[in-house]
């Protein structure tokens, strides 16, 4: 009998991350939760222990503090089989445009921090010759739109980083998967009136990620319709696109 597989979730307190933790926990994975708010992590861990009866540990992570990243990976008793990066910061474009520091934080939280941390994870997995890295990026990164280009630029960068990392690790047996969820009903969007046909429940996202990992898919849109929507959006010529309010 093999030892139970393990999952490290970076940015574990988001609604999507919690659904991923429940799904993998129910499938028998041991869980390592990493995030900034330790009290919230402990609450999530207690919930996961009851729901899934799996082992759960909590780890402090400040994704902006690059010097701390190696320490986090060293404190895990065994290096995890799968690492999910669900770190993210969404901010209103008007606020980003008015506040350069906020725009910078969006960039560092969605791109610089995760890229630094996942690069370390990638090297360790390459040395071991096995593992899966799952990065939660966004459809917002598929094309810069006037309504959220700070966030979109960071996610575009993260998508490109994951694509490159996938190429770098392909020969080592390490699998890198990019996830572009589209609209998801989470705490971040609890107040928004989202179109039901385009909106996924967090549980559906978790299930889609789990299945896609088993099939070793490279890039997934959680709801297939998003692949076509984003294809259309990418195909619109820039001279028309710049006049559209989307």
């Amino acid at each position: 009998m093999n030892a139970p597989r393990s999952l490290l979730i970076l940015g574990a307190t988001s609604g999507m991350a919690r659904a991923i933790a429940r799904h993998y926990g129910a499938a028998g994975y041991r869980l390592h939760l990493a995030g900034r708010d330790m009290a919230a992590l402990e609450r999530d861990a207690a919930d996961l222990r009851v729901r899934t009866a799996t082992a759960v540990s909590c780890h402090s992570l400040d994704v902006l503090d690059h010097a701390s990243h190696a320490g986090l990976l060293n404190e895990l008793e065994a290096f995890p089989d799968t690492v999910v990066c669900a770190v993210g910061l969404m901010a209103d474009q008007a606020a980003c445009s008015a506040d350069a520091d906020l725009a910078d934080r969006v960039m560092r939280t969605n791109l610089n921090g995760p890229a630094h941390l996942l690069a370390l994870v990638g090297e360790r997995m390459a040395a071991r010759g096995a593992g899966t890295i799952i990065g939660i990026s966004s459809v917002a990164g598929d094309r810069g739109r006037a309504s959220n280009y700070s966030y979109g630029a960071a996610k575009a960068g993260f998508t490109a980083f994951l694509s490159g990392l996938r190429g770098r690790l392909a020969a080592t047996g390490v699998h890198v998967m990019t996830v572009k969820p589209g609209f998801v009903r989470t705490r971040m969007t609890a107040d928004m009136d989202l179109p039901p046909a385009l909106t996924a429940e967090p549980q559906a996202v978790a299930q889609a990620i789990f299945r896609a990992q088993e099939k070793r898919r490279d890039v997934i849109y959680v709801k297939p319709v998003w692949r076509w929507i984003m294809l259309c959006i990418r195909l619109i010529p820039e001279r028309f696109f710049k006049r559209m309010s989307i």
Binding site: G15, A40, R43, D47, V50, R51, A190, D191
Partner: protein, 441 residues
Amino acid sequence: MRLAGWGRYPAVEATLRGMTDAATAAQLVRENDSLIARGNGRSYGDAALAAGPVANSLPLDHILAFDAEAGVIECEAGVLLADLVAVLVPRGWFVPVVPGTKFVTVGGMIAADVHGKNHHLAGSFGNFVESLELLVADGTVIHCSRVSHAQAFEATLGGMGLTGIILSARFRLSPIETSWIRQETVVAQNLDALMDAFEASRGATYAVAWIDSFATGPALGRGLLYLGEHMRADQLPPSLAGQARKLPAARRRRVPFDFPAWWLNGLSMRAFNALLYANGRRTAGQATIGLDKFFFPLDAILEWNRIYGRRGFCQHQCVLPLDRSRDGLRRILEKVAAAGRSSFLSVLKLLGPGRGMLSFPMEGYTLALDFPMSRATLALMDELDRIVAECGGRIYLAKDSRAAPEALRSGYPELAAFRAARAALGAGGKFQSHLSQRLEI
């Protein structure tokens, strides 16, 4: 955004605000003059709609603690009963009182003080609640139980969210050996026979009847009584031995669109009810069925409220005192038949003594009738309310979307005590819904 209850009437413009933790919930309470909590939107009418913000409890979905020895669980208000069933049943525990759907939140179950098919023996959900954390009007949280803030505790059980926002609760569970129910179906040819069957089955753990409200004359009130018992492990047939506590994967269908208004006409409803009765007669007797199918049969059809179309529907659920039930139920069924507005789905249960305050259950029979929404339906419901009042009964607030304040005053003699408890919490202006304003609670 447009927001409505399960009946889709009324639908109003409302501001939904997520409560992500106790701190954001407290901030919502402090920053707004008035608001109301909302769970998964399964109350039928306007209980979770308001002019002020509607505080969505679904993000509060942590199970906080589970004592698998003693059978006690503590969880946040937004945890769904469906999740609890999935977590608890394989470990040999069940929620001691469950309503007809598992897509309700724990907060909603407390606020409506829900009853199940076992009320005649177990009472309502509130009986099993040991304590709850209540966010009150000044933005602080009080720990309520039978010994601490006892008046606030009693008023919150069935208080429709009008005393404050329930953040979390601790409640007792009941042990089960299997996830299977021994169901016995009894055919009753009229109302008297049905009620006699109820009386004869008072010892049954679970009892619920479906009534064919299209039957008239000597067959008035004919129906099927379903009795249920949790099966012990040694009662399971050998074919189920390996899945004693298994919850079968739900095979669910979704109603894909709003049905047009004409389809639920007298003919289709009559045919459906006649078929159901005929099928019950054919298969009467004992059967072994899964827990989901026994307790939550309608959950197999997601969004079944869409069969009533865009205009929505209305459920009239009342309870009549035991000594007035026979006469009162007959009058209600005759009134419905005479109006030519028979109910698509009609459910009868026997309740035991209640808890008081705004909690719905009281000793007697409770009848629930579903009608497609229309002006004629509203007029009929007013007439039904008059019969209920004359019999000394009351209507269920979690189902109501249209009653007049008089129906509340006549049905709930402890209204004054509830108002006093609510005033003592300073909650009167702060926690208001369209229901509380309409009924002048």
